[in-house]
């Protein structure tokens, strides 16, 4: 039986990175804002890092992979036709709960790849337009880093950098020896106490949620402010479909399931989708009507197309002294963007970053590393690797730009559903030739760097092997653009087809860059919020 709830002005679907940011932006309008979130709050006692056997949770209820967690709030994802599987968190804070907090911005060239390199499309916004929103979001999040990075137009993070550690210093010396760019990573992790949140204690388990609140998940940054200010956050509320008036073509609200599976109608004047690059196309494709038989806002046929990840591969060096890689934020020490911009002599367009994460804890290393299911050998070889290699490792992760291709997609699985019977997403994805070339180039450069830094041996997997659980960054499946034939939303996130429907998450990216997308996702959400406020009188024209 359907139950009806009191109508609201703004309905946001998803309480993650982008949903929280746009809610914050719209606070000053005094509109009634409601956010529906399929998961729940994570309470203090639930953080696994407070337990002695904290590592175990990576392989069960706190896995980054929803197909492993299989919790009630999760939806299954069919990744059989993909070399990368999406990972996420469903709950207040979304994937900022278990993301690793690495915080590099996209670069000016990322927004103009068609003009500069003849590939993909240019964005309808540019770096200069987003820059004040990057700055604003850095303040709201509490970003730590070192100003003056020559890799970007000048800006300074609000907090000083976190320690780069022995591992970071060792690699930095290698980069300096080769004359390559590197810089201490910008991180959404507090290097100093701030706003009632505790600074990072270097626990090294960012993926298990930060019990200290040092990591800038929106469960610790935006949501406490939003709830205090009267934004209603309704948890355990899973949206089934967006409903649309068949005469006017406007969205009128949503149907959602509560924790007991009961179906409700929630009416709204303005609907904002913030479910990221897999959840958002899934919801739109599930919202079929006579007006939109292929899914709402999908007259272009591009909802779900052009899926981009950031394919990753790792190279590690074995050094003479322990690198203490388990101490400190696990993905963030230093970042090299020496090979980020296009150089025709390399044989590929665009580029990649060399990310110095830290190493991990013994169990995760023995099981193959973070995001990899490939345990190290058993027997005497196991003893040798754990005793004489594991403590001495420093690694680099090659993170490549992924160019959009229509064949890489999110569609609806014909059989698989979540616990409410809503069709699950199916991923079809393969690596492009350009990406393979980048991965090979990146592996060779990473080896060169590690040797220059003093590694006595270097360990790498095959150049075509990418991490299976590398699908953190889900982009491109509802891309922005000026032309309704070749894009899903306009230059400020409004659907071309449904004028009171906005999308604010990673799905609207036109290209992927080769950096972690969350700072750009949130800057875009703040920008779109600003455009909504500016255009409020003619918002639906």
């Amino acid at each position: 039986m359907s139950m009806s709830n009191e109508p609201v002005d703004v309905l946001i679907i998803g309480a993650g990175a982008s949903g929280a940011a746009i809610a914050w932006s719209l606070l000053e309008t005094r509109m009634r804002i409601l956010c529906l979130e399929q998961g729940d709050h994570l309470h203090d006692k639930e953080f696994p890092s407070r337990r002695e056997d904290y590592e175990l949770s990576r392989y069960g209820a706190f896995s980054c992979d929803p197909n492993v967690r299989n919790l009630k709030q999760d939806y299954p994802i069919n990744s059989e036709q993909s070399c990368i599987t999406p990972v996420n968190w469903n709950g207040v804070g979304g994937s900022t709960v278990n993301f690793l907090g690495h915080w590099p911005r996209m670069k000016p060239s990322d927004f103009k790849t068609r003009t500069l390199d003849g590939v993909a499309e240019d964005w309808p916004v540019d770096y200069e337009t987003l820059e004040p929103f990057y700055d604003l979001n850095d303040e709201n999040t509490g970003v730590s880093g070192l100003g003056g990075n020559p890799g970007y137009p000048d800006y300074s993070p609000p907090l000083p950098p976190i320690p780069i550690g022995r591992l970071g210093r060792t690699l930095a010396n290698g980069f300096n020896q080769l004359g390559w760019h590197w810089w201490p990573s910008d991180v959404a992790i507090l290097s100093e106490d701030r706003d009632g949140r505790q600074k990072c204690v270097n626990a090294g388990t960012c993926d298990l949620g930060c019990a200290a609140g040092a990591k800038g998940g929106t469960n610790f940054t935006y949501w406490p402010i939003l709830e205090n200010a009267g934004v209603e956050l309704r948890t355990n509320a899973r949206v089934r479909e967006i409903i649309v008036d068949q005469e006017t073509g406007f969205a009128t609200g949503v149907l959602y399931h509560d924790a007991d599976g009961q179906l409700h109608v929630q009416k709204a004047e303005l609907v904002i989708v913030a479910c990221n690059g897999v959840g958002t196309p899934r919801l739109l494709l599930n919202s079929k009507s006579s007006l939109f038989p292929e899914g709402i806002a999908n007259r272009s046929g591009l909802v779900g197309k052009n899926l981009m990840f950031h394919p990753l591969t790792g190279v590690a060096g074995v050094f003479d002294e322990p690198m203490l890689g388990h101490e400190g934020p696990m993905a963030c020490s230093i970042l090299s963007q020496e090979f980020y911009e296009t150089d025709p002599e390399r044989g590929f367009v665009r580029g990649y970053g060399l990310h110095s994460g830290r190493s991990t804890t013994p169990m995760t290393f023995a099981l193959g590393g973070y995001g990899i299911d490939s345990p190290i050998p058993w027997g005497e070889e196991h003893r040798e690797i754990m005793d004489n290699i594991y403590p001495y490792l420093a690694g680099l992760t090659v993170v490549t730009e992924d160019l959009p291709e229509e064949c890489n997609s999110v569609t609806l699985d014909p059989e698989l559903t979540d616990s409410d019977g809503i069709p699950a997403p199916r991923i079809t994805y393969r690596l492009g030739d350009n990406t393979r070339k980048m991965l090979r180039h990146g592996q060779e450069k990473a080896k060169e760097l590690l040797r220059a830094a003093g590694a006595k041996s270097v360990i790498a997997k095959g150049s075509d092997e990418v991490w299976w659980r590398a699908g953190w960054h889900q982009m491109g499946t509802c891309r922005m653009g000026a032309d309704p034939e070749t894009s899903v939303v306009n230059g400020w996130g409004r659907s071309h087809d449904v004028r009171n429907l906005f999308i604010v998450d990673g799905s609207i990216f036109v290209t992927s860059g080769a950096v972690n997308p969350t700072p750009t996702i949130q800057a875009l959400a703040l920008y779109i919020g600003d455009r909504i406020k500016t255009n409020i009188a003619t918002l639906f024209d």
Partner: protein, 149 residues
């Protein structure tokens, strides 16, 4: 029916999967606590007892007295079982690693704290401003490193 004999054989196999010794004097995985954790790991495996049972039966069918074999022969036999039954054997290896390294007393032997990482974490000193200036000086000296558009 799970028996004491099963327990003993499982622990002998665990002794080979993670052997004792080395410069760090690590203990082997063949102890009761690890065996129990492997068998009860239903949160991490569809049916751990079934996987373990397949391996145990395969070992017993090849050697009535596995424990009595010389060490190299035990390893060689397990490699044959691994080749014949890769899925259950790999599952046993995976669960053994999880059970063994989840014991807090093991981590310090590899330089990692035994404690839960929150709230204490690790003390890591931030590099001084002077050190960071010195380290980044060559990067800054090369000037702008992004494509101006």
């Amino acid at each position: 029916m799970w028996t004491d004999r099963n327990d003993e054989l499982l622990m002998k196999i665990l002794d080979e999967i993670i052997p004792a010794g080395g410069a760090r004097r690590m203990p082997s995985a063949g102890v009761k606590a690890v065996a129990e954790s492997v068998l009860s790991a239903t949160a991490y495996s569809d049916n751990p007892v079934e996987s373990v049972t397949v391996v145990l039966q395969a070992v017993e069918s090849r050697a009535g007295d596995f424990a009595g074999l010389p060490a190299p022969e035990r390893v060689a036999l397990l490699k044959l079982v691994e080749a014949d039954h890769p899925a259950p054997f790999n599952e046993l290896v995976r669960l053994t690693y999880m059970a063994y390294y989840s014991r807090p007393e093991i981590r310090p032997l590899l330089g990692v704290g035994a404690h839960p990482v929150h709230p204490g974490g690790y003390e890591v000193t931030r590099e001084s401003e002077d050190l960071m200036n010195d380290l980044t000086a060559p990067v800054r000296a090369r000037g702008i490193a992004y494509r101006q558009v």
